[in-house]
Amino acid sequence: MPDGLNEFPDLNAVHDALAARFGSAILESTFVQKELSVRIKTESILPVVTFLQSEQGFNALSDMIGLDHPGTPAEGRTRFSVLYQLYKYPAHLRLRLVVDVPESGEVDSVVSVHKSADWAEREIFDMFGIRFAGHPDLRRIYLEPEFEGHPLRKDFPLQGKP
C-alpha cells in the first residue's frame, strides 16, 4: 500500500478492492499529492475499468492522457503510457490508471465502458499513434488524414517535418 493512503479510507477501500480482484495485474501504486495512481498491466485495462465502473462506482472518465518518454525503455518500461483519469460521483474520488504501451503496441479500447473515451482515444491515436483495439472509429481527430507523423511524440519537431 502506498504511503499516506490510509488517511483516506474511501480511496483506500477502492485500492484494496482493486488489489484483491486484480492483485497480479497491479504493477505499482503511488499516492502523491493526494492523487492515487495505479499502474497496471496493459492487457488488463478493460476488465479493471469495467470493474471500477460497475462495482466501485467510478462512473466518469474525466480524461485520457498520452505520454511519450523515449528515455525510459532502458528501465524496463515501454515508450508510451496511457493514463486514465477516473472520477467517482457523488463520492468525489479521483483515481488514475496507468498502462504502458510499446512503440507498435495496442491497448484495449474502453469506449464500451465510458462513452467519453471515444474522442479521447482518437486524440491519443492522432497525437501519439497509439492504436486502440476495438475502437469503433479510430481516425485522426485533429489533423487532416493526410498528415504524416504524430506530433506529440518527442521526436516530432515543433514546426512540423519539412
Binding site: 499529492q33 462512473n59 480524461d63 505520454l67 457523488p90 462513452k115 474522442w119
Partner: protein, 364 residues
C-alpha cells in the same frame, strides 16, 4: 437530388457553429438521421508548443484555450503548477482569483445567452448580452490591461492587487446586473417561441449525462448537483456561501435557466469575497526560474463550461515534460449526436449553442 438521407455539411464556415466546427448532418427531410461533429480546424498544436516553453511562459497561452473565459484556464493551470511545485498562495491572492474567475464566469454566460438567442433568431439579445459584457471587460482592462485574454493570474498569486477604485467599480457593475438580467429574462423566459425552441429539445437524462462524461451547466441542467467548487473546493471556495443551481429538465431551456441562475450565484460569491478580502500579499515568492522536481499532478476546476483540468508532468527542469488539458467542451460536444437524436434540423443549432462550446479549447 433525393431528400431522403440528404447530407448537409455545416461548417467549418457556418454562422452558427461557434467558430470552425464542422458538422456532417444527414437529414431525412427536416429530421436528423445522423450527425457527426468534425473538429480540429483550430488545432494549433498547443500541447506540443507547451513542451518547449517554461512554466510561466505557458500561462499566457492558456488564455487562448477558452478565450471567452480566459482566467478560468489560467486558474486551472496555475493551481496545477502550484500543487506540483508546492507553492503556498496567500489568502488575498486566492480571493482575488475567485473574484476574477467569477467575473469571467459572468461575462462568459452573458456572451453565451447572447449567442444562444442569436442562433434561435433573437438578435437583440446577442447585442444586449455583449453590451452588458462590456462592463466586465472594462474591469479586466482596468485590472490587467487586456479585454479578452488578460493573462490575469501568475504562478504564486495574482500580478496586481485590487485597489479601492477597482473594488468600487466591480460593486457598481454588479449592482447594475440584476436589472439587466431581468431585461434579458423578460425577452426570453416567457416567450412562447423561445420555449418552443428550447423546451424538450436536446433532452438528456441524468444517467446518460454522466455516462457521456458531461460536466458543467449542461450536467447540472440534468439535475446532477456536481460542482467542483462545492465538492472539491479550491482557491478558498469553501469560504463562500453559494447554491448550485439545478434544473431537472435536461433540455436546452434547463441549461438556459441554470446559466442565468449561475450568474446570480457568481454575483453572490464576488460580493462575499469583496466584503471579506483579507489583507496581505497578493503574490507569493516564486523563484524567477521555476524548476519543478519530477512528478505528476492533475488538477481540475469548475470553469464556466464545465470541469477544466490540467495534467502536468515535470522532469526536474524549468520546462514541463507534458501538459495536457482536460477540456470540458471536448467532452460535452461528444454528446451532441445523442442529444440530437430524432430532432429536427433547426434543433441542431439550438442544441449546439446550448452546449456552450469553444473551439479553442476543443482543438487546443
Amino acid at each position: 437530388m433525393s431528400f431522403k438521407d440528404l447530407e448537409l455539411n455545416m461548417g467549418p464556415q457556418h454562422p452558427s457553429t461557434h467558430g470552425v466546427l464542422r458538422l456532417k448532418v444527414t437529414i431525412d427531410n427536416e429530421v436528423i438521421v445522423r450527425i457527426e461533429p468534425v473538429v480540429g480546424y483550430l488545432h494549433r498544436g498547443m500541447e506540443k508548443l507547451w513542451e518547449s516553453l517554461t512554466y510561466p511562459q505557458i500561462l499566457p497561452l492558456t488564455d487562448r484555450l477558452d478565450y471567452i473565459a480566459a482566467v478560468s484556464n489560467n486558474l486551472a493551470y496555475v493551481l496545477a503548477v502550484e500543487k506540483l511545485a508546492g507553492i503556498e498562495v496567500p489568502k488575498r491572492a486566492q480571493y482575488i482569483r475567485v473574484i476574477l474567475s467569477e467575473l469571467m464566469r459572468i461575462s462568459s454566460h452573458l456572451a453565451w445567452v447572447g449567442f444562444q438567442a442569436n442562433d434561435i433568431g433573437a438578435i437583440t439579445v446577442l447585442l444586449y448580452g455583449f453590451e452588458y459584457r462590456e462592463d466586465f471587460l472594462d474591469i479586466f482592462e482596468t485590472y490587467a490591461g487586456g479585454r479578452l485574454t488578460i493573462n490575469g493570474l501568475r504562478i504564486g498569486g495574482v500580478p496586481f492587487d485590487l485597489d479601492g477604485g477597482l473594488i468600487g467599480r466591480i460593486r457598481k457593475t454588479l449592482a447594475r446586473l440584476p436589472k439587466r438580467l431581468h431585461e434579458v429574462e423578460m425577452l426570453l423566459n416567457e416567450n412562447r417561441i423561445w420555449k418552443h425552441r428550447t423546451q424538450g429539445v436536446g433532452c438528456l437524462s441524468a444517467e446518460e449525462a454522466i455516462e457521456h462524461g458531461l460536466t458543467g451547466p449542461c450536467l447540472r441542467a440534468c439535475g446532477v448537483p456536481w460542482d467542483i467548487r462545492k465538492d472539491i473546493p479550491y482557491s478558498s471556495y469553501e469560504d463562500f456561501e453559494f447554491d448550485v443551481p439545478l434544473s431537472d429538465q435536461g433540455d436546452v431551456y434547463g441549461r438556459y435557466l441554470v446559466r442565468m441562475q449561475e450568474i446570480r450565484q457568481s454575483v453572490r460569491i464576488i460580493e462575499q469575497a469583496l466584503d471579506r478580502l483579507p489583507a496581505g500579499d497578493h503574490i507569493a515568492k516564486v523563484p524567477k526560474i521555476l524548476r519543478i522536481p519530477a512528478g505528476e499532478v492533475f488538477h481540475s476546476i469548475e470553469a464556466p463550461k464545465g470541469e477544466l483540468g490540467f495534467y502536468i508532468r515535470s522532469n526536474g527542469t524549468d520546462k514541463p515534460e507534458r501538459v495536457k488539458m482536460k477540456s470540458p467542451s471536448f467532452i460535452n460536444l461528444q454528446s451532441l449526436p445523442s442529444m440530437c437524436r430524432g430532432g429536427i434540423f433547426s434543433d441542431v443549432v439550438s442544441i449546439l449553442g446550448s452546449l456552450d462550446i469553444v473551439l479553442g479549447e476543443i482543438d487546443k
